[in-house]
Assembly symmetry: C2
């Protein structure tokens, strides 16, 4: 994976996600970028589509929202299966890459001759900070 040259819109969307302290919905991103000329949802969704393709952004299926990838993308780096913890109080998200999970899921799929395309693991609950409060 080379470093992709992003378009203006893609950069704006990625910046919005990078500076957010919680996942953002597409429509929230749209609102944040109205001052930069964004007017319609498709402008956001088209940028997100590419950013997802490049691995710079992740989609959180269980909350219909998006986050910037927490990993560095300077070097060629593809991560495999990722589990996300999502705090339902503060929105904090962490990415967990674990080979035990990855291999076990791979084994379970193989066992039933299932050909995996994409795996989603999302753990919703309360982060350390919020659980303490």
């Amino acid at each position: 994976m080379a470093d992709h040259q992003l378009t203006r819109n893609q950069n704006l969307v990625l910046d919005a996600l990078s500076h957010a302290d919680a996942p953002l919905s597409a429509y929230t991103i749209l609102d944040k970028l109205r001052d930069h000329g964004f007017r319609a949802p498709l402008q956001v969704y088209r940028a997100l589509e590419k950013l997802l393709e490049f691995g710079l952004v992740h989609r959180l299926e269980s909350i219909n929202a998006f986050v910037a990838c927490a990993h560095r993308h300077d070097h060629a780096h593809e991560h495999g299966v990722t589990a996300f913890t999502i705090c339902e109080d503060c929105g904090n998200v962490t990415e967990l890459c674990d080979s035990v999970i990855e291999e076990r899921l791979s084994f379970l799929a193989t066992q039933q001759k299932f050909k995996t395309e994409k795996t989603t693991i999302e753990i919703r609950g309360h982060c350390q900070t919020c659980a303490a409060a």
Copy 2:
């Protein structure tokens, strides 16, 4: 978990899901039940809410759809973390309960002092039958 006495609407929704050979969206369920007097989405969503609570139905977050639980509910039976395989061609869904996955995710969460409320694992791809074709 005792055997819950379901209402008419809940039974209709559960039947629709039980007899389907693929996950159904709430609106698809609504259409299937129009002949039985269903007129509005809320009738479906309210039934689903209870069925999810009773563990008789699962929600597939990654495709905004619902399936009847594949396990028997005659006896008291709560399943823990479940991974779903979802065939993108035929819609076939299987439920995988695996203690290795469950314990590993529990360990990972504990490690970062995250308090888990609900875990979603969904593997999308192609089932044995469809992958062969």
